[in-house]
Symmetry: C2
């Protein structure tokens, strides 16, 4: 279990593969899926499900906490500092239309992590100013999970590598196929959803991504 | 400003008219509407807007707090203890699929109020057991604001009057026209939305409802 801010920041500093999962399964099926991802070596798991009601979401969050407690996998809740607090999550991730990092900090206290989605370099600088612990940068490519109007793409990633000194995860349509292009920007951290959760074999998909990420980090 | 639990409970014990409003207006228009309702004597205002993003919802909540701070009108946030905390609301109202009263209490602390929507006498007893401060009981009649599969109606209200000793607000399609039927159950507290917010003149609508409620309470 990662409890102190120091331990959490340490895990974060080494994290390369961040996976977003939804909770739309039975408790058993959800448990099996999460356990596989944790065993496969996913560094961060985020519960992100806009369709679940609050009560079910908290149930899944508590399950996720239990399944990651004795591991090195960080567990992050999307959008909701209240659910993060109640489930004892390692942190909260917010987008530009969600609560600000500053407001989230007021609810969750000093020890948990805060991540912020950014789509422009201006938003990345703002996240730094708001004391976010990490940022997501994208969308990099079109994705089956989420629809976007514009794509800052790899140009944005290059800019972040040059200018922002905060753990930054490239996100949006990243797969084993286009990962080499992402790595060429200098990014060594990615966040994926469909590439892992919709893969025929999630464990193999995680292994393949981690291999590529680690090969470049040596 | 109502700050202590005692003051809040005092306001609650005298409250008869509870109005749910959404935040889908400009800040100016929202401010005008809220000020009118407060001046007209609404006892409790709940911000309930499932369409607003979190950031806008918190903005409206903070505005509502400012507009009610120097008044006797209680301000309640729907569903979200985090937003209630950040906006310094008087309390949180949850439904059967939202966070439990017990979980909400953990986030908002001992001083704020918790309300729970109930549709059966069993749920009303559970709300009492969970230390809710008040309950909503309904739906009483079909409503333009929210769709329901079944209507416990006035039979449920009569049962609550007989068995439950907690401030209880009848909700669901209540208007000046059917209010006499609600009052005949023994209920002296109602929660409305459209009957006030969609009225040609909100102030007149509030006055009319309050007159009926007070006439029966003497």
């Amino acid at each position: 279990m990662t409890q102190s801010r120091t331990t959490r920041l340490q895990c974060l500093s080494q994290a390369q593969l961040y996976v977003l999962i939804d909770g739309g399964f039975s408790a058993d099926e959800f448990g099996r899926r999460v356990s596989k991802l944790v065993a496969a070596g996913v560094d961060i798991l985020q519960l992100r499900d806009k369709t679940l009601d609050d009560r079910s979401q908290l149930e899944r969050a508590r399950q996720l906490r239990e399944l990651t407690a004795a591991t090195r996998t960080l567990f992050i809740v999307n959008d909701r500092p209240d659910i993060a607090l109640l489930s004892k999550a390692d942190g909260v991730h917010v987008g530009q239309e969600e609560l600000s990092a500053q407001d989230v900090r007021q609810v969750i206290g000093p020890d948990r992590l805060i991540g912020v989605s950014t789509h422009t370099i201006g938003q990345a600088y703002s996240a730094v100013a708001e004391s976010a612990d990490y940022i997501g940068c994208g969308p990099t490519y079109p994705s089956g999970t989420k629809q976007f109007a514009s794509f800052p793409g790899t140009a944005f990633l290059r800019q972040v590598v040059r200018e922002i000194h905060l753990p930054a995860f490239a996100i949006g349509g990243i797969s084993a196929e286009n990962l080499p292009d992402v790595l060429r920007t200098g990014f060594r951290r990615i966040a994926v959803s469909g590439a892992v959760t919709r893969a025929a074999d999630a464990v193999t998909a995680v292994g393949q991504l981690l291999d590529q990420l680690r090969a470049e980090s040596q």
